[in-house]
Amino acid sequence: MSRTRTLAAGVAVAAFTALALSGCATTGGGGGDTGSTEKPAIDVGVSLQGKTICFGFSGSETEFWAAGIAAISDSLEAADARVIEHNSNEDPNKQLEQMNDCITQGVDGIIIIPEDGSSADTIIAEANKADIPIGVFNRPPASEDGAAIVAVADNRGVSAATMEHMVTEAEALGLDRKIRSIIMVGNLSDQNAVERRNGFYDVVDANPDLFEEPIEVQTNWDAATGQANLEAAMQANPEIDLLFTSSDFLYPQIRSVLEPLGLWKAAGEDGHVIMGGIDGDNRACNLLKDGFVDATGVQDLFTEAESLLTALAEAIDAGETDADELLLDPGFALTQDNVEEKEKDTWGCVITPPNS
């Protein structure tokens, strides 16, 4: 009797577990675990009804990525696609396995936010081999060997435009010496980080009489690493005039380093450091309005997502498996001078920030 009861309990537990697991399956294109508080869906233009899209991302650790993931997920759902979402938690090996598992399921298209450029290459090669069109969002592949639709910001141009404004502000200070500047560099295996650094140096190199040799602070796209390295840099160089961050998500760390030194001041106050960065997120938008930040290079997140999804949907519709296209988002610099005019075009100023 007790054996029967044990067996029955075992079967019940197994059945419950199976039901629970199948109930967790993501088949309806939900927002997954991105934690968005809004649904910024985009009109893809082509119906994806009956199509299955695999969407792989490497994490949602910053406001930009969280908003981007939410925008893509919600837009695919709005286009009636069946969405398979995979979060690889910044593990490129896991992301490759997840994408291979998607290919096994015979998906109609793939969208990835890769961990970095080289892992994008590997996944694009797998998709090409399986004749499945693939789109890459905002993080470009390291090489142009594979066929993929790549939506990416003109990081170099946007960085340079942001720096141009910062230089104008620095010149207005009327310093009797050269400008002491810091650049917080991203992970340089990511092409976005490389191009943002290039954009910064384009302006510095164009003004050799204006700048001392910039101080480079490595962040590797990691908040703790960035904070520790900035602290060390500020100890060695306590007097700086200008700080450029390769991503807006680092502002809390920058503030925690500058504030104790009396350097976290709004424009016009004594001790103000001219600051700018890239992304155009909600935090940067608010800091810019409060005067702490002078400029931010805005990647038009919604335009990038829209152009990518539309191009991928059209490729699927046309049966084009080797779609190969670069969709460049020109972006713009949001500054103290144009914030009233450009605020409505800045994604970080118009949406409630998703959890990141």
Binding site: L21, H86, E97, S118
Partner: protein, 367 residues
């Protein structure tokens, strides 16, 4: 009549004892893991789209080979009653170190400030970038040697200094994880030669897609490890030392040498596994091993390698790795959210640890 009544119970007792003993042996052996795999696959296949397709079999095997090699390495240490947490750091260090030698180019903007610039690497590539197949083979040897060196350090700390394995390997995991990042300042080493990339790639269709170099390496390692553990004095000593250290030492087992060699094998095979991973990813990655510990330890326990030492086999380790790979694969195919996959994996490992305790109670000191 009375004689029959008296003799019947003793005849029945050995029969039932044999059955119980057989059940115990099944639960403790590789047959149980194999049965678990078959039952699991049959149970989830209706929910996991494409699980039983040829394409998926290629995926599963591609994921299996490197993990199996690393789990087999871990088994040597677990059988000895230790644990090697530093395998993840070995994977990160070794695959990056080896890739540095054979990469065809290095961007000065990314690598000119790294420690090997101007010696091992330069703008024209690594020191062995022009050496063709021989250079690639030598780079793999250096990769494995780097792993063995870390294993030697672990082994000496555990055997000679009598430090707890958990603390030693936890420390070296952090230490060498940082070394991996320091070597390239966290940059991936790309532009690897085709000879190296061929190790992790699948060619052609049908049977050819299953016959990869990775498979060859893993099978050779598995056969070699099985021979060492089951057919040599070294293997017998390893089990003896893992079952009861004092008895083994009294019996003449060279315990210090056994411990050092087990950690060297564990790290060496972790380094070899890292070659397979990095070749299929097309880059040496200083963070490659960061998330692998759960899979390695989980697979070993499921495969019947006891955390208490003295028990386990290469076949069990191999099947444990296969189960873990199928588990991951099927959860992906069921399109479960990221956090659910981790919850399930965690529960499976806890269940396996519980099973390990049960097995030890059932079969005692036998293996």
């Amino acid at each position: 009549m009375s004689t029959t009544q008296k003799t019947a119970p003793p005849a029945a007792a050995p029969e039932s004892a044999r059955r119980v003993d057989g059940l115990h042996r099944f639960l403790a052996g590789e047959g149980f893991v194999l049965a678990l795999i078959v039952v699991y696959v049959l149970a989830v296949s209706p929910f996991a789209n494409g699980l039983l397709t040829e394409r998926n079999a290629v995926n599963v095997l591609s994921n299996l080979w490197p993990l199996a090699i690393i789990v087999i390495g871990q088994s040597f240490v677990l059988i000895l009653g230790g644990i090697d947490l530093s395998q993840t750091a070995v994977i990160s260090v070794a695959n990056t170190f080896g890739a540095l030698f054979i990469a065809q180019t290095f961007a000065p903007a990314l690598f000119s400030d790294t420690v090997f610039w101007g010696s091992v690497i330069g703008e024209e590539g690594g020191a062995l970038s022009d050496a063709g197949l021989g250079g690639t083979v030598l780079a793999i040897v250096l990769t494995v040697a780097a792993g063995c060196l870390i294993g030697l350090l672990n082994g000496c700390a555990v055997a000679v200094l009598r430090m707890p394995p958990f603390m030693v390997t936890l420390g070296t995991m952090l230490l060498f994880g940082a070394v991996a990042i320091w070597m390239t300042r966290s940059e991936n080493v790309t532009s690897l030669p085709p000879e190296y990339l061929a190790i992790g790639s699948t060619q052609g269709g049908g049977v050819a897609s299953f016959l990869t170099l990775s498979m060859g390496v893993a099978v050779v390692v598995a056969i070699g490890a099985h021979y060492v553990l089951s057919r040599t004095t070294y293997g017998a000593w390893l089990y003896a030392a893992g079952t009861n250290r004092r008895t083994a030492v009294v019996s003449g087992v060279p315990h210090t040498r056994m411990v050092i060699s087990a950690y060297v094998i564990s790290a060496g095979l972790a380094a070899l596994g890292s070659v397979l991973y990095s070749s299929r990813l097309g880059a040496g990655r200083p963070t490659l091993g960061d998330d692998m510990l759960l899979d390695v330890i989980g697979a070993a326990i499921i495969g019947g390698i006891s955390l208490f030492g003295g028990k386990g086999s290469v076949l069990g380790a191999f099947l444990g790795a296969l189960f873990f790979v199928i588990l991951s694969n099927s959860l992906n195919l069921m399109n479960l959210p990221f956090h659910v996959v981790w919850v399930v994996k965690g529960l499976v490992i806890v269940a396996a640890a519980l099973l390990d305790v049960g097995r030890n109670r059932l079969i005692g000191g036998r293996r």
